[in-house]
C-alpha cells in the first residue's frame, strides 16, 4: 500500500521568501503525484499533478514541483510566497497503473506567510 510523508507540520515564512515543502512517498511501482491546497474556509483544490513526462511540473499561482524518482520525492516549491499563500498543503499519491486506486494523502503542511 502507498503512504505519504510530509515532514513539515507548520512552516512560517515572510512574504517574498522562497518555499519548499517536502513530500516523500512509499510505493515501488508507477505513481501519480498531486499537491492539493486548502485555503482557510475553502475546499481542497488541486495545485498541480504529475502523471508522466517532464518531472518538473508547473501548477497554478506560481507553484511547481519536482518528481525525483530515485528519492521517492515530490517537493513543492515557490520562489516568492505571498500572504495569500497562507493555507494547508497536502501531498497525495495513487498507484499509476492500478485501476481505480484512491488517493492517499499526507498529513498536510500548514503554511503561514507573514508580512
Amino acid at each position: 500500500a502507498q503512504s505519504v510523508s510530509q515532514h513539515n507540520h507548520h512552516v512560517i515564512l515572510s512574504e517574498a521568501a522562497s518555499l519548499e515543502l517536502g513530500c516523500n512517498y512509499s510505493y515501488g511501482g508507477t505513481v501519480n503525484l498531486f499537491w492539493y491546497v486548502q485555503y482557510p474556509g475553502q475546499h481542497l483544490q488541486l495545485l498541480l499533478k504529475y502523471f508522466s513526462g517532464d518531472p518538473l511540473v508547473k501548477g497554478i499561482k506560481g507553484f511547481e514541483a519536482e518528481f525525483i524518482k530515485s528519492k521517492f520525492s515530490f517537493n513543492l516549491r515557490k520562489p516568492s510566497v505571498q500572504w495569500s499563500d497562507t493555507a494547508e498543503y497536502f501531498c497525495a499519491v495513487n498507484a499509476g497503473q492500478l485501476w481505480n486506486t484512491p488517493l492517499v494523502f499526507g498529513k498536510g503542511t500548514r503554511l503561514s506567510v507573514i508580512a
Binding site: 475546499h43 499509476g96 485501476w99 481505480n100 484512491p102 492517499v104 498536510g108
Partner: protein
C-alpha cells in the same frame, strides 16, 4: 461541468445518535466516489471508496459505514455516534477508469461535532 454537493455543512449530534451525510455528483456518469475524514494534524484519512453502485471498499474499520444507492450518490452513516467521530468529512469524486490518470475533486465538507 461537473459539480459535487455535500450536506449539511455543519452538524452537531449527541453521542449515540445516528448519522447520515449525503454527497451527490452532477455532470458525470460512473464516477469513483470517496469519503475522507480530515483531522487536525492527521491529514486526510480515506474512509470508504466506491467504484460502482453497491460496491464499497472500507479502508479503516470503525463506527461508520457507507452506501451507494445510486450512481452519483454516496452516503456516510453511523448507527450510534461516538465522541471520536467528530471531525471534518469530505466527499470526493474522480472519473472512472478508462484512463488511470485522474485527479479527485472535493466537496465543501461537513463539520461534525459529536457532543
Amino acid at each position: 461541468s461537473q459539480t459535487i454537493h455535500q450536506w449539511p455543512a455543519t452538524l452537531v449530534q449527541p453521542v449515540g445518535s445516528p448519522l447520515s451525510l449525503e454527497c451527490t455528483v452532477e455532470g458525470t456518469s460512473n464516477p469513483n466516489l470517496y469519503w475522507y475524514r480530515q483531522a487536525a494534524g492527521r491529514g486526510l484519512q480515506l474512509l470508504f471508496y466506491s467504484v460502482g453502485i453497491g460496491q464499497i471498499s472500507s479502508e479503516v474499520p470503525q463506527n461508520l459505514s457507507a452506501s451507494r444507492p445510486q450512481d452519483r450518490q454516496f452516503i456516510l452513516s453511523s448507527k450510534k455516534l461516538l465522541l471520536s467521530d467528530s471531525g471534518f468529512y469530505l466527499c470526493a469524486w474522480s472519473p472512472l477508469s478508462g484512463t488511470v490518470n485522474f485527479e479527485a475533486f472535493f466537496g465543501q465538507g461537513t463539520r461534525l461535532t459529536v457532543v
